[in-house]
């Protein structure tokens, strides 16, 4: 058995350390003398680099370090994965582009054409992370007025059409959201393999849609027992529908040579969190996954160690950067042991990340991934 490990391309800038909140890679913070991509040349002028140049380095680092590809997230203030992937297609060789996208934003037949074209450009390296949730005010920002459950209905139909036209020939469909009469990809495009489909979403509507279309069911890291129960439920539900569901976890790591060094980064980062960041995190959401994580209430914590929810599990990552709250902190061996635990509990694939994404891709690839599969007892003994 092998496990697919993805890395992440940070599409909202990156920072050189979790200790500081300024995004000094990319132009999301005000450009200054310590920024790169874009940065300033020796005369203080724009050096001509753009953030895509830094993303290209992360993608190449990840593929060199043993990752199969990377998740490319999409939010209102990120660069877009459908653009990033073809821009980097010819500069990478094995890196798979996991495109996060919300199906309602593209016509499904056109999305199939774009996907098949990208498959041709990359030799079959396109993967989808279908996103349906989020919602509330941010959905209207996107121009999407559908309700939460309708969005899952639409996602299901979108993928019905996407798969249907991919076979080529005459595909017809009459649904609530899409109707198609006799459409199909041309033979040149239909010959490509359908991209692997990753799905997320914690609500019942999401699980139902995933059971029909997902190759992988993707979850943020949750407390291990809760995650085990969730994966078991997903696998059971899919089995009842006659399918088989693989499960994947998305998690950030702070892995250092010693546990003390890892927690030191977390402590300093926690102490540097600006008050406005805490305030931001108290806003409402209609994402069930986000609500499950907010229950940890990291924005109310006074000390970083109040957020240690289990050995090597810290629940305050969303204070330090956008994204999920829970992550893994520890020595290389401890991080490997926690990932081993997750594999034993039914995790079939991972999306890992660390800050800064470029250097940490090498570190995790060299120091943590090779330890996986070794006995936890031996790993933890070595860590002491």
């Amino acid at each position: 058995m092998t496990i697919d490990f993805y890395w992440r391309l940070p599409t909202h800038g990156c920072h050189d350390s979790l200790r500081h909140s300024a995004y000094d890679r990319g132009d999301w913070s005000r450009p200054g003398p310590y920024n790169i991509a874009p940065g300033l040349d020796r005369d203080g002028a724009d050096d001509g680099f753009r953030y895509i140049d830094h993303l290209a380095e992360i993608a190449r680092a990840a593929e060199s370090a043993g990752f199969i590809g990377g998740l490319i997230p999409s939010f209102p203030n990120t660069d877009d994965p459908w653009v990033i992937s073809p821009l980097l297609a010819r500069e990478t060789s094995s890196f798979r582009f996991m495109i996060a996208f919300q199906p309602g934003f593209l016509d499904p037949i056109h999305a199939a054409r774009m996907s098949a074209s990208l498959q041709r450009a990359t030799g079959g390296r396109t993967v989808f992370n279908i996103i349906t949730g989020g919602g509330g005010p941010s959905q209207l920002w996107w121009g999407d007025g559908f309700s939460h459950d309708d969005r899952y209905g639409r996602t299901t139909e979108f993928l019905d059409v996407f798969r249907g036209v991919w076979k080529g020939g005459d595909f017809s469909y009459d649904g609530r959201f899409y109707s198609v009469a006799g459409e199909g990809l041309p033979p040149l495009l239909a010959a490509e393999e359908l991209p692997e489909i990753w799905f997320s979403g914690s609500s019942d509507a999401a699980l139902q849609s995933a059971a029909k279309h997902a190759d992988y069911y993707l979850s943020w890291l949750e407390p291990f027992d809760q995650l085990t129960e969730k994966f078991a439920r997903v696998k059971e539900r899919t089995a009842a529908l006659g399918g088989e569901q693989k499960c994947a976890v998305r998690v950030d790591l702070v892995a250092r040579a010693t546990e003390e060094e890892a927690w030191r980064d977390i402590r300093i980062g926690f102490e540097n969190v600006p008050d406005e960041r805490r305030a931001q995190l108290r806003g409402p959401t209609d994402s069930v996954g986000a609500a499950r994580q907010q229950a940890l209430r990291p924005s109310e914590a006074r000390r970083y160690d109040e957020l240690i929810v289990a050995p090597n599990l810290w629940g305050g990552f969303n204070l330090l950067r956008g994204g999920p709250a829970l992550g893994i902190v520890g020595s290389y061996e401890q991080c490997a042991a926690r990932l081993n635990d997750l594999i034993a509990r039914g995790t079939d694939a991972f999306i890992l990340a660390g800050t800064p994404h470029l250097e940490e891709a090498y570190r995790i690839g060299e120091e943590v991934l090779p330890l996986l599969g070794h006995e936890n007892a031996a790993l933890l003994h070595a860590a002491e």
Binding site: R50, P76, R90, E91, H110, W141
Partner: protein
């Protein structure tokens, strides 16, 4: 006005070239070591390089439903040709206006603002209406925050891009079509209107008409033409090649000087954007770029100097 010349990268032309599935499968005497990753996209990159090295200003990628998606191809080659403008053509119906604008902004950010938007000709009046709303919303979220809109096709509340996404310019919008409704839309919403190739007298009346329409709305737009060409060192060779290959009726066929003069005539009636194309895209890009463009530029430079 500086004249812009674009080469047409037609993804559907010569479909067998560099297509792995079109390689001889058996019975070849040469040892074929090409892997699947040496493919059609290398050919697209070669055309792009040909255009870059022969001093075209950009590439125009027509929408071809039977072949690769023009926007994916444009992004795939963008970083290999760091100066060319890339103008993929796409129907206005393929994406939500907000999402299309967001993709455009990402492209602009990554390429030093080298994207153009060519909206494929609309099939009917409804498609034209949708295109207009599509452009209104796309411009709106790009330039205004908060942006709200409620129309027949799109609805946005509290929209609009934040920094740094809002720092790049919106791509130049190229529209087409010669119906009354299409021209009226261009008068309101195009940056450049692209005409199909036609006799110069006909183009002159179209340019004057649309210029008047735009002026009536207080706007000034630029004009372009999608012009097939077939040039050779001498006229007979060009005519012979045209007869052998069969070219579209409006193709300008001739020797380098004659074709340059015809293009300069078009520049003289106010056409500033030239999308040039020929069936063998790679070979003809070199020929046109090396021999025709310098002559054309010399002529239009003289016209400008005289004016």
């Amino acid at each position: 006005m500086t004249i812009q010349t674009y080469w047409q990268l037609d993804v559907a032309a010569q479909p067998g070239r560099s297509e792995p599935s079109a390689r001889p499968q058996a019975g070849t005497i040469f040892r074929d070591v090409r892997t699947r990753v040496i493919n059609r996209y290398d050919y697209y990159a070669r055309i792009a390089q040909a255009a870059a090295q022969t001093a075209f200003d950009g590439l125009f990628l027509p929408y071809r439903p039977e072949a690769d998606d023009s926007a994916i191809v444009a992004a795939t080659i963008a970083r290999e040709v760091p100066r060319l403008t890339l103008i993929p053509e796409f129907p206005g119906s393929v994406a939500s206006a907000v999402y299309a604008a967001k993709q455009a902004v990402s492209f602009q950010r990554a390429t030093h603002d080298r994207l153009g938007w060519a909206i494929a000709p609309a099939a009917d009046a409804e498609a034209l209406d949708r295109t207009e709303e599509f452009l209104t919303v796309a411009h709106g979220v790009h330039g205004t925050r908060p942006f709200s809109f409620s129309g027949a096709y799109f609805e946005v509340q509290g929209g609009g891009f934040e920094a740094p996404l809002n720092r790049v310019p919106f791509p130049r919008v190229f529209l087409q079509g010669e119906s009354e409704e299409a021209l009226a839309l261009s008068a309101r919403a195009a940056d450049v209107h692209l005409f199909g190739a036609a006799p110069v007298a006909h183009l002159r009346s179209l340019v004057e008409g649309l210029d008047g329409l735009a002026a009536g709305r207080g706007r000034s737009i630029a004009f372009g033409v999608i012009q097939p060409v077939l040039v050779r060192e001498d006229r007979d060779e060009a005519l012979h090649e045209a007869a052998r290959t069969g070219v579209p009726a409006a193709t300008i066929v001739g020797d380098y000087d004659a074709v340059a003069a015809r293009l300069a005539e078009l520049a003289g009636i106010g056409i500033g954007h030239f999308v040039l194309g020929a069936p063998a895209s790679l070979e003809e890009a070199y020929r046109v770029g090396q021999h025709l463009l310098p002559r054309f530029r010399a002529l239009t430079g003289r016209v400008r100097a005289a004016a």
